[in-house]
């Protein structure tokens, strides 16, 4: 037990001595102390109570003032969200190299319902079905009368439809502003642009996100508000693109091909001026991707970058220029192309079993001799061939700035044998996209420098490292010109534009190995004007067949070349190239017998 001290001790002891009861003194003392404590705490409490009073007064005054402020401002219809939940709907336009709009935004509305605010759900459902015949009345009534508090009815509606819904007049039917991605040129450059759809959706805005093509590749850039909606400028030329698409479409139909693609590239900058893949689609209304079957069957398939094909004889020029570059041959060196020519147990044959005999390198290209290029390739050797093709970009997917490009990885032989070296020299055994081929030809066309295909408008030449000597490139160009002027691509002649190029007809590989006899990929890889090329044009037709003659003809010379020639005829003036006046040919001397 704690002993409580006796206080005040002196008086208590005194009282005890006098025989009085000390309790009274103690009680008295306790009372006094208690009074003191009370006074003390009361003084303190006084101050704190005043503080509390002032606090409440101020708090109520602030609330009153705030009420007054609110009440005296005009009611506005508030729009913005709380920060953190903002949906950024801005998306920059995409324009071509001349500033023509390829993709832009269009204000539209989405329709949604708040069934709790509906006056007459059933009548509203009935009238909605009258406006949108694709909606189901029963389903709407179920949604409107059920537990749902919110539902989207239509993602995009036209102004007329919006007016019609307004006229229904139900307060539970509401509109959400939307930015719609619009491609005013319809199917034009569809594969490059790709398409866009909605990401996060709110009642005040919705995110527009790219789903394919450049829209997806540049999605972050296009959506970044920091760019201030500065349009994204592409290297495409809308006019040229339109002409190319038209010609290619006509050519595809005329040649009964199931697909076609063309790539037009500036040889010094790598800018792709036009790129077409047919069949095409409308990015405003992008079809659904296939879930089964061959990917190349859907119009979404971009043949120019995703379609990796064995491009056939168009590859021969690479063997020729490399051999010249290495000093193994020159354009006039004669090589025996007589058969039989066996590599790794396989006989190398010529087109239709021909036998050309000794040919100069130039003639090997002009006549497109497999054995001739094969022999050159063997001289070059697998190592150097690989290094050369790699420097031209044939080992990697193209850096072309659309998302699909990364999917176009070339197919290389697993083991690079001598046989591979020979077959690849004439374009079999290595599959690459037309875009790859364009980059490879551009290197020959620009005097021997590597270029990378790009979708961005460039301000000057973008020449990469040198991959062959200028002399080899010049020889290559002369040979290509000869292919057109006197070889397999004679239909490619366009007066005034000195087209040079190489045909390639490759049998299509079967899925389970082997090759189809009657299905080919016909390619014409060209450059113009051949003496100082500005542009490279690749035209590839998928399964073409030309039936004007007795027998169906499938070779590129009969199919791809005329299409490419027509295309050059149409687009060269658009590109600002003037037709050069060819030197007059020698007058034809007619020998007249004098006797």
């Amino acid at each position: 037990m704690i002993r409580t001290p006796l206080r005040p001790l002196a008086r208590i002891l005194d009282a005890r001595q006098k025989g009085e009861n000390p309790d009274a003194i103690e009680r008295e003392n306790k009372r006094i102390r208690h009074e003191q404590m009370r006074d003390q705490s009361r003084l303190r409490a006084e101050g704190r109570l005043l503080v509390l009073g002032v606090f409440f007064f101020c708090a109520f005054a602030v609330i009153g003032a705030r009420m007054g402020l609110l009440a005296t401002t005009d009611p506005v219809e508030p729009r913005a969200h709380a920060p953190g939940a903002v949906i950024s709907a801005s998306r920059a336009d995409i324009v071509d190299r001349n500033g023509n709009i390829l993709a832009t935004n269009f204000e539209t509305h989405a329709l949604y319902a708040q069934p709790r605010n509906m006056v007459d759900p059933e009548a509203a459902a009935e009238k909605l079905v009258a406006v949108f015949p694709d909606l189901k009345k029963e389903r709407l009534i179920k949604d409107f009368t059920g537990k749902r508090k919110f539902l989207w009815i239509k993602k995009k509606i036209s102004p007329e439809q919006m007016q019609a819904v307004h006229e229904i007049g139900d307060p539970g039917l509401l509109f959400a502003p939307r930015d719609m991605r619009l491609y005013p040129n319809g199917t034009m450059a569809a594969h490059v642009l790709g398409g866009a759809s909605y990401g996060k959706e709110g009642v005040h805005a919705a995110e527009v996100i790219g789903v394919a093509g450049a829209e997806k590749y540049f999605d972050d850039y296009l959506r970044d508000p920091a760019n201030g909606n500065k349009p994204l400028q592409l290297s495409l030329d809308l006019t040229v693109q339109a002409a190319a698409e038209r010609v290619l479409y006509g050519g595809m139909k005329l040649m009964n091909a199931k697909g076609a693609t063309s790539v037009l590239m500036d040889v010094k900058t790598g800018e792709v001026i036009s790129v077409v893949s047919l069949p095409t689609f409308d990015p405003n209304n992008r079809p659904r991707p296939l879930t089964e079957g061959d990917a190349s069957d859907t119009p979404l398939f971009n043949r120019s970058v995703q379609g990796v094909y064995e491009l056939g004889s168009t590859f021969k020029i690479f063997a020729a220029v490399q051999a010249i570059d290495l000093g193994l041959v020159n354009a006039r060196t004669v090589i025996d192309t007589k058969g039989p020519f066996k590599v790794g147990g396989f006989k190398i044959g010529e087109f239709r079993g021909k036998n050309y005999g000794p040919l100069s390198v130039s003639d090997i290209i002009v006549k497109s001799s497999n054995r001739g290029t094969g022999r050159m390739a063997l001289q070059i050797g697998a190592k150097r061939q690989q290094a050369f093709l790699k420097s031209l970009g044939f080992f990697e997917a193209t850096p072309f700035e659309i998302v699909e490009a990364s999917g176009g990885k070339p197919l290389l032989p697993k083991r690079w044998t001598d046989l591979s070296t020979v077959t690849i020299s004439y374009g079999h055994g290595l599959s690459s996209s037309p875009m790859h081929l364009a980059a490879g030809y551009a290197a020959i066309a620009n005097g021997g420098f590597q270029v990378k295909p790009t979708l961005m408008k460039q301000t000057g030449p973008q020449l990469g490292p040198r991959v062959m000597s200028a002399r080899a490139a010049a020889d290559g160009r002369r040979m290509l010109r000869k292919v057109v002027s006197e070889g397999t691509a004679s239909f490619g002649e366009v007066p005034g534009y000195f087209v040079g190029g190489k045909t390639g007809t490759a049998d299509k590989p079967k899925r389970r190995g082997g090759y189809y006899k009657d299905k080919v990929i016909a390619t014409f890889a060209s450059m113009f004007p051949a003496h100082d090329p500005k542009y490279v044009l690749i035209v590839t037709l998928d399964e073409p067949v030309e039936t004007s003659g007795d027998k169906p003809r499938r070779t590129a010379g009969w199919t791809a070349v005329p299409v490419a020639a027509e295309m050059i005829r149409r687009i060269a003036p658009l590109l600002g190239l003037r037709p050069a006046v060819e030197p007059d040919k020698e007058p034809v001397v007619t020998l007249i017998s004098s006797n």
């Binding site: 409580t4 306790k30 006094i32 102390r33 208690h34 009074e35 003191q36 404590m37 009370r38 006074d39 705490s41 009361r42 303190r44 409490a45 006084e46 704190r48 109570l49 005043l50 509390l52 009073g53 409440f56 007064f57 708090a59 109520f60 005054a61 602030v62 609330i63 009153g64 705030r66 009420m67 007054g68 609110l70 009440a71 005296t72 401002t73 005009d74 009611p75 506005v76 219809e77 508030p78 729009r79 913005a80 969200h81 709380a82 920060p83 953190g84 939940a85 009642v203």
Partner: protein, 390 residues
């Protein structure tokens, strides 16, 4: 000498009669303010409860009649309570507190949630009772009693006890969950502790701790940051209750859109309780809102000022707790409507609709009036006592 005969001098028996004494000593200003608040509540109920009645299929003024009935009961309870002596109030309040405490503890077993997700009510068929409404004023009295007892020499450790009790109640409320009431209880205890002489160091330390915790939470919790940002942002999402309320206040302007012309009551589910001030602002304008605010201010500030003169620690503390709780509840309700405070459901005492709430408020204010009645404070003996102490 004859005058000194037994019975010749009137014996003073228990002082003057109860009613005149009550009328003389009670804080008539505060009481009339409370009565006016109740009147305003009925007036607003005429506007705000009509949609609820329409929704539940009653005649338009069904809830006004109910409110008038319960309000009448509440006023009778208030008057009766305010006539009691502080000691009697204390005894009854402690008993009431015990009952409410048990009721609160038994809620999880016998309570209903009325489909609102939180078990807070006992359903009595014709009406429902929310024990926490009655617990609050009771707890204020009990806490004040304990604190006052701890000020006695050799008194019990009342601070610790009351704090433990407070935490227990807060936990029970938080489990319902009813964070609003929990905060109120905590706040009430804090105010009593403050007036009872909480050390300054502790107060400053607590304030610092809250600021630091808030900063840390803001920096590290995205959810918390978003709540605060949303609260601080100038614009408000118009589809939330807050957005409707703000717009209603703006629509009302100075003199309101007119009796019965308001629209906000139709869109706000809580127009008759948590957002009744928005209804008032829309239909009667800033004028009525300022009147309401002034009435609450008068009740709270007058009570606090009268308590300044109070000598008895128990009466002082209990009165402070009750007055502050009454004031804070009104403050939070209106502060939320004008977006000075983050959203929190809290009724406006006497004005909001609610049967058990209005009776509990009546009892609470009755206790407050009983504590703030003017009584001899021994001014003269104070001076004498101090002199003697020196």
């Amino acid at each position: 000498m004859t005058e000194m005969v037994y019975g010749a001098v009137p014996v003073v028996r228990g002082g003057e009669p109860i009613l005149p004494k009550w009328w003389r000593t009670v804080d008539r200003w505060a009481m009339s303010c409370v009565l006016m608040l109740f009147g305003v509540g009925l007036l607003l109920g005429l506007a705000a409860s009509v949609p609820l009645a329409a929704k539940n299929g009653f005649e338009p003024f069904h809830y006004v009649q109910r409110q008038a009935f319960f309000g009448g009961l509440a006023i009778v309870a208030m008057m009766l309570t305010s006539m009691m002596s502080p000691v009697l109030v204390r005894r009854l309040a402690v008993l009431g507190f015990l009952a409410a405490f048990v009721a609160l503890a038994l809620l999880p077993f016998f309570g209903t949630d009325f489909g609102k997700g939180a078990v807070r009510w006992y359903s009595l068929g014709f009406a429902s009772i929310q024990p926490s409404e009655f617990l609050k004023p009771g707890f204020m009295v009990v806490a004040a009693w304990m604190m006052a007892a701890s000020m006695e020499i050799n008194g019990p450790p009342g601070r610790t006890w009351s704090f433990a009790l407070c935490i227990a109640i807060v936990l029970m409320l938080a489990m319902q969950p009813d964070f609003g009431q929990a905060c109120l209880v905590l706040f009430g205890w804090g105010v009593i502790y403050f007036v009872a002489g909480a050390p300054m160091v502790l107060l400053v330390g607590m304030a610092g701790l809250v600021i630091i915790a808030g900063t840390v939470a803001y920096a590290h919790s995205e959810h918390f940051a978003r709540r605060i940002d949303g609260f601080l942002s100038v614009e408000v999402d118009p589809t939330t209750q807050l957005g409707y309320a703000t717009n209603a206040i703006r629509e009302g302007g100075l003199f309101g859109v007119g009796v019965g012309e308001g629209q906000v009551k139709w869109s706000l589910p809580d127009a008759h309780t948590d957002f009744i001030i928005a209804v008032a602002a829309e239909e009667y304008g800033l004028v009525l809102v300022l009147c309401i605010i002034a009435l609450y201010t008068v009740v709270v500030v007058r009570s606090l000022l009268r308590l300044v003169r109070e000598r008895d620690p128990f009466i002082r503390l209990a009165g402070t707790g009750l007055a502050c709780m009454f004031g804070v509840q009104a403050m939070i309700n209106m502060g939320v409507a004008v977006r000075l405070l983050p959203a929190k459901g809290m009724t406006l005492p006497f004005v909001s609709y609610g049967g058990s709430s209005v009776i509990a408020s009546g009892i609470a204010v009755g206790m407050l009036l009983a504590f703030t009645r003017s009584r001899p404070q021994g001014q003269l003996s104070d001076i004498l006592g101090r002199n003697r102490a020196r």
